[in-house]
Amino acid sequence: MSERWSDFIQRSLMFFYLGLLILLPIVAITVASLEQGIASLWGNITTPQALYALRLTITTAIIMVVLNVVMGTLTAFVLVRYNFPGKNVMNALIDLPFAIPTVVTGIMLVILYGPNSVLGTMFSGWGIEVIFAKPGIILALLFVSYPFVVRAVQPVLQDLGPDMENAARTLGAGKLRIFFQVTLPALLPAILTGAALSFSRAMGEFGSIVVVAGNIPLKSQVAAVYIYGELESNNPQGALGLSVVLLIISFLVLLVLNFLQRRKWQV
């Protein structure tokens, strides 16, 4: 009897906490955004400036996710499959982007690629703008979300061990076939998790981007920065519109991920 009670209390506490911490703010912002009606909300979302910011956020996020998936998986492979001096240091280094304030990330990138830096002048010599442009945003996003894919894939790869690939080898499969038919499918759920988390993170990234890309409407203004700008210019309704859109996108991505992971062959 008492056990059932403790179960009940445990569950209620968790629901209460989740509701208070996550659900309640979401409800609040949704209600607030609808205060002046759906048409007004739609109008706020479809201003050219807002649409541009949204498009910029999504395109840079997608480019970042593709790069991150490839490089993060590669990193996980190197960390799991090889032994080399300095491996522990490298392993620790990977989590660093989580630890430093994102504004600092922005500053580091500006110092490195800014107009007066060596790299910056080199790139601008080739006609590529890094700071206050898309490449800067992508660099910042890559930096802050690097750990997601690595840390999702690494433990799965560790558990997988080499024997599944060895089995495929004894069955006659070549390296490419082993990778695409055996290893990659086994890692796919983990890679998707990493990708989805990186993408959601990119939707909301503010600190590093505001430093690297500034706040130039219709050029380098991403959604989060746009929302901040609207708030600053005393237009909370404008801020709310895009906020709700970001919220929905992130939620959908995570929902799809959850669905994808519930496949038959997952124990």
Binding site: N166, R169, T170, L171, P185
Partner: protein, 627 residues
């Protein structure tokens, strides 16, 4: 010959995991590699599969050298310990993987996989995913997958290891049936002796990377050659007796030496194996006609009822003082114990607790004489390490046992010497599996003497100065007289032993110098030269006697498989022996030393001292009693 592996060697870092393994497996045979975990058996399997490349040696499958061929080209089926099924593929797709690689059309693939799933008893489960199957079912999918493309060879790494004991039995039978039906040459790796017995056509027992013995299960059980196999497989009693005039002496009991027993030198230790079920218990003494070899009387110490059988432990009065290797004696246990298994039909006749019964054996088996056992008196660390080094090299060369023995006088020395011993142990453990070290506190002379009297050792290796006397002569003389063990001395470190000079005199009792030297040459794969000196060449009788003696020595050494020749010197024995020993070909000199030292004869420790000091060659002095 379906699979031939030759002199396989594999090292991981400093660890020698596979040590010179050679093996031939017949077409259609089910061969089991049996060994404890970490013995190197899985590594051998992976080398055969092509997943690992050996450091040296070769793998031939169906007559084709596969040593450097990649796993994917070997056409070998392998079942992994945790099956390693592809989790994202269905059972069908798993089984068809190898066929898909071989570009078989889809319809044919499906037919073949249905056929195989039926063979392993999984009909109808083809569309499931591995995670939806039980462990036993997963194992059978792995077997079907490995067999799909008709490989000539099937390799299995502990295929039953991850399963419940209950279903192992059924799956074993299942596997054996499939293997017989498809007649596929199979190597199975396991640590489970019962599994090996049940499945194997032949078993190879592997320990520390070495293949110790190969044979059918019943031969390995009843007639093992080595102590390792005798103790690893099945329960049993192994007692160490001594050869005495063609018989085996076990305490007060004598057993005849069986005709097929391996050759034992006079007075050498004989290891007698008898399994618990061959022991017969009786309330009356055995008659001569019973065909049972009596071992005297024993008292029942322990009785465990097991259903069909009862297991007993008996304490044997008449076997007191006999050293048992198995069951392992408890510390301070005064009497020899033996294990007995008897059926429990008509239990009222069966043995009862504390009862004293007559004990006999229906059958017993003699193990092959073991490798040479060296006892090394190491002295304290700052001493000349040449003797110790030579012993370690010889131990490795002869695959013998080496015990490093040190005597210290106080605790501080104790920890210092122990640390040194540990260091040596770490360095040499891989090369000499039977290396042990021992440090005791006490008086040197007495402790070394006690140690040599345990009857285990064949050769004592000592720094000649070990008694603390600066003169080596009296020390050597004392050692020989007191221990009656062959003593190996050396003053400078020596590497290989390729050629041994055995100096012998005609008519020496027991000819044990030739025997001991021959045994060393045989184990070290060294050449031997037997040398004798003729003092008076005019004496026809003596000349004939010496020539005959040399010829006999040559024949018996050749019989042991040693490359051997003879030499005859003329003149004064001590000078002749020294001159012969001075020839650079010889790496070690064996001298027979008659005891007690007769005043008119050559003083052998003198010769030994000259050879070690002036020629820097190791000398093995073999004591020979002239009663």
């Amino acid at each position: 010959m379906s699979i031939v592996i030759n002199n396989l060697r594999k090292q991981f870092g400093h660890a020698l995991v596979v040590n010179n393994v050679s093996l031939e497996i017949q077409e259609g045979e089910l061969f089991v590699l049996l060994g404890a975990s970490g013995s190197g058996k899985s590594t051998i399997l992976r080398i055969i599969a092509g997943l690992l490349e050996p450091d040296s040696g070769s793998v031939t499958i169906n007559g084709v050298d596969m040593t450097h061929v990649d796993a994917r080209k070997r056409n070998v089926g392998m079942v992994f310990q945790n099956y390693s099924l592809f989790g994202h593929l269905t059972v069908f797709e798993n089984v068809e993987f190898g066929l898909q690689v071989r570009k078989l059309p889809k319809a044919q693939r499906r037919n073949r996989s249905k056929e195989l799933l039926e063979a392993v008893g999984l009909t109808g489960l083809g569309h499931r995913y591995p995670a939806q199957l039980s462990g036993g079912q997963q194992q059978r999918v792995a077997v079907a997958r490995a067999l799909a493309y008709n490989p000539r060879v099937l390799l299995m790494d502990e295929p039953f290891g991850a399963l419940d004991v209950k279903i192992r039995g059924t799956l074993r039978q299942n596997l054996q049936e499939i293997q017989r039906r498809l007649n596929v040459t199979t190597i199975l790796v396991t640590h489970d002796q019962e599994e090996a017995f049940e499945l194997a056509d032949r078993i190879g027992v592997i320990e520390r990377g070495q293949l110790i013995e190969i044979g059918p299960p019943d031969v390995l059980y009843h007639h093992p050659k080595t102590e390792i196999v005798a103790t690893f497989i099945g329960g049993g009693n192994i007692l160490v007796g001594r050869e005495e005039e063609g018989r085996i002496r076990l305490g007060k009991v004598f057993l005849p030496m069986p005709d097929q027993a391996p050759l034992h030198a006079q007075g050498s230790p004989v290891r007698v194996l008898f399994r618990p079920e061959t022991v017969v218990l009786s309330r009356e003494a055995f008659s001569n006609a019973s065909g049972i070899y009596p071992l005297g009387q024993g008292r029942v110490l322990k009785r465990i009822f097991n259903g069909p059988v009862q297991r007993l432990v008996l304490e044997m009065e008449e076997l007191a003082g006999v050293r048992p290797l198995k069951p392992v004696p408890r510390y301070g246990q005064p009497r020899t114990r033996i294990e007995v298994v008897e059926t429990t039909t008509g239990l009222h006749h069966g043995a009862r607790f504390d009862e004293t019964l007559w004990v006999g054996v229906r059958d017993y088996h003699i193990l092959e004489p073991s490798g040479i056992k060296f006892l090394v008196y190491t002295g304290s660390p700052e001493r000349n390490p040449a003797a110790q080094e030579l012993a370690l090299h010889l131990g490795q060369l002869t695959r013998g046992a080496v015990t490093l023995f040190s005597v210290v006088s106080n605790d501080m020395e104790m920890s210092e010497v122990q640390a040194e011993m540990e260091r040596i142990q770490n360095v040499w453990q891989e090369r000499i599996p039977l290396l042990t070290t021992e440090v005791v506190k006490g008086e040197r002379h007495e402790q070394v003497y006690l140690k040599t009297q345990s009857g285990i050792y064949d050769i004592l290796v000592a720094d000649p100065k070990f008694t603390g006397q600066h003169e080596m002569k009296p020390a050597l003389q004392n050692l020989l007289e007191e221990t009656l063990l062959p003593v190996l001395t050396v003053s400078q470190s020596q590497k290989g032993i390729l050629h041994i000079l055995i100096c012998t005199a005609a008519g020496e009792p027991g000819k044990s110098d030739v025997q001991v030297g021959g045994r060393l040459a045989m184990r070290a794969h060294a050449k031997a030269t037997v040398f004798s000196v003729l003092t008076s060449p005019d004496d026809q009788v003596e000349t004939r006697r010496v020539e005959q003696h040399l010829e006999q020595a040559r024949q018996s050494l050749t019989g042991l498989g040693i490359a051997c020749d003879t030499r005859l010197g003329l003149g004064e024995p001590m000078a002749e022996i020294f001159n012969q020993a001075a020839k650079p070909a010889y790496d070690l000199v064996v001298l027979g030393a008659p005891l007690p030292q007769a005043p008119q004869r050559i003083h052998w420790p003198d010769v030994a001292q000259r050879i070690t000091r002036e020629l820097n060659k190791p000398v093995l002095l073999v004591p020979m009693m002239t009663t």
